[in-house]
Amino acid sequence: MTETNPNDTPKDIRVSKERGIMRLFYHDGSEGELSSEYLRISSPSAEVKGHGPGQEVPQVGKRNVLITNIEPVGRYAIRIIFSDGHDTGIFNWPYLKQLIDEKETRWSTYLQDLNSKGLSRD
């Protein structure tokens, strides 16, 4: 976990009607949009990241995973409950910000990774 910057704390978190998009609005007026699939495969949970570098578990077939619920965690994070039952990921404010800022590179890395392993989003 990293030290947090107050600007990383969102003002509003909105989940779209069909539960596939999470939009974050910040105090400085900026905003970001994250898909439920991208959030799901980026879950900081040990079930996804493993217990150390090199122990990551490839996340496959998450194309249709949606956001079922969001629970606040203290003052620093949210827990996202996904429609595939995954509920152990605690997304803190700096991590969510990072997911927005690095969306393109992270997403293409994920797709390449799936590709090279012969795995699929479906």
């Binding site: 704390t9 978190i13 203290g74 949210i78």
Partner: protein, 216 residues
């Protein structure tokens, strides 16, 4: 807690909800009310978490000005549960001034920083011993260690509680010095610490810190 606050009753239960007891005008709930004084709580993490959650959520606290949770030292299950399950207004670190204690105090402080719990400040406990016979000051655990630490890490230093017989005696006797001798020098120390904590809570603008979560 029952001993310190001079409370000998047991809390009443209304359905699932416990009614807090009152001592010196303060509502109190403690595991100490539910077991004999010499019974240890031999618990693993999940039990600690469930007891903590019960004390917070299943007690008829009513409207409070401040809820103070006295925590054991450490950065384990109890502290993590507090920082995850409750949007805390802040944490106060209490430490003796000696280096060995300060090492742990620093860890506690850094843990709260990682989970965005504001640090309201550090209190130095057992700061100085003044000999009742000759009036000489003995700095048994060293002196100023917590103040230096607070300065170093950039958090407020809230005050020094001396190592004094009257404080100890009154605490053991269920007549805490702030209540039994409110105009005395020791009570003044406590009052000043409490006031500076209240000041920083009032200035915290706690409302509106957490983001709103909306499902469209």
């Amino acid at each position: 807690m029952p001993r310190l606050m001079g409370i000998k009753d047991q809390p009443t239960v209304n359905g699932k909800i416990l009614t807090p007891l009152e001592g010196h005008g303060v509502k109190v709930m403690s595991m100490g009310f539910l077991v004999e004084e010499d019974t240890p709580m031999i618990w693993r993490g999940p039990m600690v978490i469930s007891a903590l959650t019960q004390m917070l959520r299943e007690v008829a606290w009513g409207d409070l000005d401040v809820l103070v949770v006295d925590m054991p030292p450490g950065t384990g299950d109890a502290q993590l549960t507090m920082s995850q399950n409750v949007p805390l207004a802040g944490a106060v670190i209490v430490s003796t001034p000696q280096d060995i204690a300060l090492i742990d105090a620093r860890k506690g402080l850094n843990m709260f920083r990682k989970v965005d719990v504001p640090i309201l400040g550090i209190i130095e406990n057992m700061s100085t011993f003044i000999c009742p016979k000759c009036g000489e000051r003995s700095e048994i655990f060293g002196h100023g260690g917590a103040r230096d630490e607070a300065e170093k890490v950039g958090v407020p230093f809230l005050g020094e509680v001396p190592l004094h017989m009257d404080i100890r005696k009154n605490s053991d006797g269920g007549t805490p010095i702030a209540a039994s001798d409110p105009d005395g020098p020791h009570a003044k120390v406590y009052a000043e610490i409490a006031q500076s904590i209240i000041n920083s809570l009032d200035g915290a603008g706690f409302e509106g810190v957490a983001p709103s979560i909306t499902f469209e």
